[in-house]
């Protein structure tokens, strides 16, 4: 950190606050999220539905409709330039060219009445001064790159003629066609069959190697995280509760919520027979967020202080950051398989395919 102070990270989000003004009240969906991402890195933001991860992702490109959404504070810096201060027309130059995005449901993310080819070429023609022919060639090349056979024929087809996996490949081709620095993938595998999921994950890994694109992947699937991510940020109730290298998060998780997440996923191939443990309860209502730690009410290790005050982010060993009172010197020591260092391996080992 100290060796290279002027070097700006590729993407840096600082203390981002986003709220939605709804009929029922002000929903504080994102409450002070900070993230950073280096060139060519794959960062996974993981958390259960409604935790604000998609809102964070969409806020980067300012895709949330406003109203009802309001960016209430913070910075989103792309190579040092604050995107929040950008005008709408400046943002349009960022979208698709510097940062691209793909969405959860490839079935509905493509325009049903436009040819796939035209939808891919649209981005190139928008951002680059090229002829239609060049754009066409580039689109064909991209379709080939994402592993679609007969790309020329695919170009002429409509989305309904594609399967779900093919559509997500086409979406990826569309997103990467202008060679962006960052690809934001919002639950890219959730709507797909399991076998297709792993193909898409492999494709993203492969493309990262080839194109050196940074990928910000939003998911609730710890298995996908283990497969793809370099670094992980765990999000809960609009906040990052823990972040660190993927190895750190799986081998030495520090936050009780992360423990819960790891406990609630199946562990294939380990021979373990313990039952999956769900996390009791539901996340807090973000119209009236608790003043203390948002996870306190569901936490097995909850202390008095947790209900009273929001814990600060603290640095733990290994570039690992945690927002939890258990890190405090006064806190009682917790003994479980994660703190003793024997948890986690099975997840990482179990789901990482060679």
């Amino acid at each position: 950190m100290s060796e290279n102070k002027d070097r700006k990270p590729l993407l840096k989000i600082e203390d981002l606050h986003v709220s939605f003004m709804t009929y029922a009240g002000r929903v504080q969906a994102v409450r002070g999220v900070s993230l950073s991402m280096e060139k060519g890195e794959i960062l996974a933001v993981v958390g259960e539905s409604g935790c604000g991860k998609s809102v964070t992702a969409q806020t980067i490109l300012q895709l949330n409709p406003s109203p009802p959404s309001v960016i209430e504070g913070g910075k989103i810096e792309l190579e040092g330039r604050d995107l929040i201060k950008c005008s709408e027309s400046e943002m349009r130059k960022v979208r698709g060219r510097e940062i691209s995005m793909i969405f959860q449901d490839p079935m509905t993310s493509l325009n049903p009445t436009a040819r796939v080819g035209n939808q891919i070429m649209e981005g190139i023609l928008k951002h680059q001064k090229v002829s239609r022919k060049q754009a066409y060639d580039r689109a064909v090349e991209m379709l080939r790159l994402v592993g679609l056979s007969n790309p020329e024929q695919r170009m002429r087809q409509y989305p309904h003629e594609f399967s779900g996996g093919m559509r997500q490949r086409a979406m990826i081709a569309m997103a990467l066609v202008c060679d962006p620095k960052i690809l934001i993938a919002d639950e890219p595998t959730t709507a797909l069959d399991v076998t297709i999921q792993s193909q898409i994950v492999d494709l993203m890994l492969e493309l990262r190697e080839k194109l050196k694109t940074g990928i910000l992947i939003i998911t609730h699937d710890m298995g996908v995280v283990a497969d793809i991510a370099d670094r992980v940020a765990v999000m809960y109730a609009g906040m990052i509760v823990e972040s660190g290298d993927v190895q750190e998060i799986f081998y030495h998780p520090k936050h009780p919520y992360t423990w819960g997440l790891l406990d609630s996923i199946p562990k294939p191939g380990t021979g373990r027979t313990d039952r999956l443990v769900p996390i009791d309860g539901t996340p807090p209502d973000l119209i009236y967020p608790p003043k203390g730690c948002p996870f306190a009410a569901r936490c097995d290790y909850c202390m008095k202080i947790c209900h009273e005050r929001m814990p600060e982010i603290t640095d733990a060993a290994g570039g690992h950051q945690v927002r939890c009172w258990l890190q405090h010197e006064y806190a009682p020591k917790v003994e479980n398989r994660y703190t003793t260092g024997e948890g986690g391996e099975d997840h990482a080992a179990g789901s990482h395919r060679a």
Binding site: D280, M303, Y330
Partner: protein, 307 residues
């Protein structure tokens, strides 16, 4: 870091209570209560409701308490402009337009309500049967609706009137048997959707009988759209009646409906425009009321918009 220092006893463990966790904080309300609450919060819909209620009350009361009779002609006072004696003026035969308008309201509303009621009954049965059986039966029955739709309502009504002869009963029957198509389609769609829905499947799996599925799932879920459709078909029935009567194909004299009043008024339009104005205003107000109320009900009853 913090203004006041932390003490060790703040780091005592607390027990979590699972029961409290799974408690839902927002109060539970029934579907209809919730819908009613939201309808009440919609000022446009509430004003429409009040206006419609007022029209119904006036239609009932005015002919009873008015000093004039709707059919009595008075040759001494023809084509008078609105005055204290005749609030809406008088027509070419010296009849009081005010009382005729409210008698007309009775007739128009009666036609609309009865016809719509018959519409609903036919539509629900037809659509329900079509959706319930599905397959070939459904295809044939829906083709039937399509055929009825091919010819505009007004033409069907005219053909039926030719066969049955003009009159109040004919108009009601004609509107009733031509207007049920949209209701049938709606109910059929709902039934088809519900048949495949997971909660009906779940109910079946749990041993819920036919009756339970019909009364616990089908009817409550279809009621909303039916009520909305109803609010829109009442004005369309009023409209059809008014159009027919306006063309001189409606109910026979001296009985008045808003359509016949408008027809008579239109003949005098260039000389005494107010004779058309009042019935036209009443028709428009009623249609407006039903349309706005329908919009409000749709917002209130559509469960997808529930927050």
């Amino acid at each position: 870091m913090h203004a006041n220092p932390l003490s060790r006893d703040q780091f005592e463990r607390t027990l979590k209570s699972t029961a409290a966790l799974n408690e839902i904080k927002r109060p539970a309300t029934t579907y209809w209560k919730d819908a009613w609450r939201r309808l009440k919060a919609n000022p446009v819909a509430m004003v429409s409701l009040v206006v419609l209620a007022l029209i119904v009350v006036l239609a009932i009361l005015v002919p009873v308490f008015s000093p004039y009779d709707y059919a009595t002609q008075d040759t001494k006072s023809i084509n008078q402009a609105p005055s204290a004696a005749h609030w809406f003026g008088t027509d070419t035969l010296g009849r009081d337009v005010f009382v005729r308008c409210w008698v007309g309201a009775r007739v128009s509303l009666l036609i609309a309500l009865v016809a719509t009621l018959i519409n609903v009954i036919i539509g629900v049965l037809y659509g329900g049967i079509s959706g319930y059986f599905g397959g070939r039966v459904d295809m044939l029955m829906m083709r039937g609706v399509e055929i009825i739709y091919t010819i505009p309502d007004l033409l069907w009504v005219i053909m039926l009137m030719v066969i049955m002869g003009p009159g109040l009963k004919t108009i009601i029957i004609a509107i009733a048997i031509t207007g049920w198509g949209s209701m049938a389609r709606l109910v059929r769609g709902q039934v088809l959707q519900l048949k495949q829905s997971e909660y009906v499947m779940a109910s079946k799996t749990l041993g819920g009988g036919f009756g339970r599925i019909i009364f616990k799932h089908l009817i409550p879920n279809t009621m909303g759209p039916i009520i909305i459709d109803l609010t829109f078909s009442i004005p369309s029935a009023i409209f059809t009646e008014a159009s027919l009567s306006y063309l001189g194909l409606g109910i026979p004299v001296p009985l008045a409906s808003w359509g016949t009043l408008a027809n008579e008024g239109a003949k005098m339009l260039l000389l005494f425009p107010y004779q058309l104005l009042f019935p036209a205003l009443l028709i428009s107000l009623t249609m407006l009321g039903f349309n706005l109320l329908g919009d409000g009900l749709r917002d209130a009853l559509d469960p997808r918009l529930r927050k």
